[in-house]
């Protein structure tokens, strides 16, 4: 079983976010990047599957500050291969990223591709379905739990309201991970250090990033104060009467 886990780094919300003078992007001067939390779960799920049934886990990421440390940490947890796409990804959206991952993953020929189901900077759709489309593979999202069964898997897909579906998918397939079966594990820093000395990160240069199909950002802005809310006072009956009056005034009733 070969498992590929494409992951991405997103802005760290511990730092204040500021908007670039262009008004269409984040100012990257003080921007700090962090692993997308659900991608971290995808890595954990891949390692859990490997521990349960054997196999080889490859973690892939586009180049960014902090990515090397993350890849080495993944290796210390049990990942076998580390691949870093190199190039200028500063303006890469998920369409571009999906295509770049697809090119490398085609060559890896994995049986299963796990990635975080979403990220807080997904402006143009999440990576998983895009990747599945470019690879011509089936996709199941919001997965929390995977059972391997020969050349197929049963994915536990979460729905709103506490509903869970068991979806059988033929391999190879792409799964969007909502949560690993257990939280991402801790690995002692001494182990990460040890891995830094032995593990290799394979670099794959990516020259042309193709972002067609994505969105064009017209304006990026902090939440703006609009007109103030009106507080309705009085007994519940009074408030309900006022509310009905307001709805009538606005023409919604």
């Amino acid at each position: 079983m070969k498992i590929a886990v494409p992951i991405k780094f997103v802005p760290d919300l511990v730092e204040e976010l500021t908007i670039d003078p262009s008004g269409t992007a984040l100012d990257t001067t003080w921007l700090r990047l962090i692993i997308n939390e659900l991608d971290d779960h995808a890595v954990e799920q891949a390692i859990l599957l490997k521990e349960r049934s054997g196999g080889e886990v490859t973690v892939l990421s586009a180049e960014a500050d902090g990515v090397d440390d993350f890849l080495f940490t993944a290796a210390a947890k049990g990942a076998d291969r580390l691949i870093k796409l190199t190039g200028d990804f500063s303006a890469a959206d998920n369409h571009a990223l999906g295509r770049a991952f697809a090119d490398v993953i085609k060559e890896l020929q994995p049986d299963l591709i796990l990635t975080g189901v979403q990220a807080h900077n997904d402006l143009d759709g999440s990576v998983g379905p895009l990747l599945a489309e470019y690879l011509g593979l089936p996709y199941v999202g919001y997965v929390a739990g995977i059972a391997l069964d020969g050349n197929k898997v049963v994915a536990r897909k979460e729905y709103a309201g506490g509903l869970v579906a068991e979806v059988e998918v033929k391999l190879p397939a792409v799964l969007g991970i909502q949560a690993a079966e257990q939280p991402p594990r801790y690995v002692a820093y001494s182990k990460i250090r040890q891995v830094m000395g032995t593990a290799k990160i394979e670099e794959r240069p990516v020259s042309n990033l193709e972002s067609s199909g994505g969105v064009v950002v017209g304006r990026l802005f902090q939440p703006e104060v609009a007109e103030r809310a009106t507080m309705l006072e009085g007994s519940p009956e009074d408030v309900a009467d006022k509310l009905v009056g307001l709805f009538k005034e606005l023409g919604t009733l």
Binding site: V14, E15, E16, W30, I34, A75, A76, G78, A79, D80, P183, R185, Y186, V187, A188, Y189, S190, K191, I192, R193, Q194, V195, T198, A199
Partner: protein
């Protein structure tokens, strides 16, 4: 890729036992009398499946793997009471308990609250997960401006290593500002590292994350070397302990004092400035890493006694027999875990002791304590009137700063 797991797999006990001997005074473990003093003095010994003495017993019986199958070592708050009363002078906390926790971490057996603090330390340089850029935000609005060495690059007499909780914790920041005002009032030429300061890492070390501690020590060492100063003072007894007892072996060695020692040396200068009376019975809580571990008992008491109106009283646990606030050795980040096991907190025991001697103020000198004890006064009804104050806060109040 082969990753070596915990070195324990083949002959767990033997590998672990001999690894203790590589540590300073580790061989003293051989001299254990199995008297049980450690397990009796341990504030959580009654709840541990393997309190310290029993761990040594398990090692001798070659069943150390049984210890690793329980999680009771996470009840250890590294308060050093066991080591202080051991008749064989075995460094139980530093060697035995810390190495046992290290094995738990290497085996990936880490309570999730602790994991978050360790990951935060690795990523942000502080266990609270705060932005390193905001580490000096407590100085905002202070006049004169606090000298941040990275900005001014001026040599100073005293480098104040502020520390994690004193920098970030909302309950500690007023105490940190109070100390800045006191230093200014005394005309001390001091500076801080601000965003360049990393966690001292001592509590992470005592929670078993040796590698992370070494990384923090190296990063702090690199920053110290950038600036000119004559000595370091710390707000935090854990930072003091790290700088005094642990960093030198890693090549980072500077004269260091806890702020209570530094102020005590200037007590004659301070006394005339103590104008406002604070009329109260005050009990002083000895922080483990100031008192029991490093022998600083009298300086904090002398500072408190110098404040007009203060009547110093002693609680039943005091000086070398002080009772831990529960925050040490990772306890700060195991609150839920320990509550689940014990259904009590050491901080709650402690405020009950303060109430028992009719104190109005519980005075402290460690940044873990104001938030811990203040929370305890909210859950222990008898302690609802008890005030928890940092010594620096009381001094600044009396000095009208």
């Amino acid at each position: 890729m082969e990753i070596t797991l915990s070195p324990l797999s083949p002959s767990v006990t033997k590998t672990f036992y001999t690894s203790l001997f590589d540590l300073q005074d580790g061989e003293r473990v051989r001299t254990c009398l199995q008297c049980g003093t450690c397990s009796g003095i341990c504030p959580f010994g009654y709840i541990m499946k393997f309190p310290p003495g029993k761990i040594i017993g398990a090692i001798r019986a070659e069943i150390f793997d049984h210890v690793l199958k329980t999680d009771s070592v996470w009840m250890c708050v590294s308060c050093n009471a066991c080591a202080s009363f051991c008749p064989s002078n075995i460094p139980i906390t530093r060697v035995l308990m810390t190495r046992t926790k290290e094995e738990m971490i290497l085996a990936g057996n880490v309570p999730s609250e602790l994991q978050a603090a360790l990951e935060n330390t690795q990523r942000y340089g502080n266990p609270l997960g705060e932005s390193p850029r905001k580490r000096a935000d407590w100085t905002l609005g202070l006049q004169p401006e606090v000298n941040i060495l990275g900005k001014t690059r001026q040599p100073v007499d005293v480098l104040w290593y502020v520390g994690d909780y004193a920098s970030y914790h909302s309950r500690m920041q007023p105490a940190t500002r109070a100390l800045a005002k006191i230093l200014n009032a005394l005309g001390v030429n001091f500076g801080i590292l601000g965003p360049e300061e990393y966690s001292d890492g001592d509590s992470q070390r005592l929670a078993g994350e040796r590698g992370l501690f070494e990384m923090m020590a190296q990063k702090n060492g690199q920053v110290f070397r950038k600036y000119k100063f004559n000595q370091i003072i710390t707000t935090d007894p854990h930072a003091y302990n790290a700088l005094k007892n642990e960093y030198p072996a890693l090549g980072v060695e500077y004269p260091v004092q806890h702020y209570t020692q530094f102020l005590f040396e200037r007590i004659e200068q301070i006394k005339p400035l103590l104008k406002n009376e604070i009329k109260a019975k005050v009990a002083y809580h000895d922080p483990c890493y100031l008192g029991r571990v490093n022998g600083i008992f009298d300086e904090p008491r002398a500072l408190l006694s110098a404040i007009p109106g203060v009547e110093l009283v002693e609680m039943s646990h005091q000086r070398i027999n002080s009772l831990c606030c529960g925050g040490g050795g990772g306890g700060m980040w195991l609150d839920g875990f320990q509550w689940e096991k014990a259904h009590t907190r050491l901080s709650e025991w402690r405020v009950r002791e303060a109430v028992a001697v009719n104190t109005q103020i519980l005075a402290v000198a460690c940044p873990y304590e104001p938030p811990r004890f203040e929370d305890a006064t909210k859950t222990i009804q008898a302690a609802s009137q008890l005030k928890v104050r940092e010594i620096a806060e009381l001094l600044a109040e009396s000095m009208d700063l």
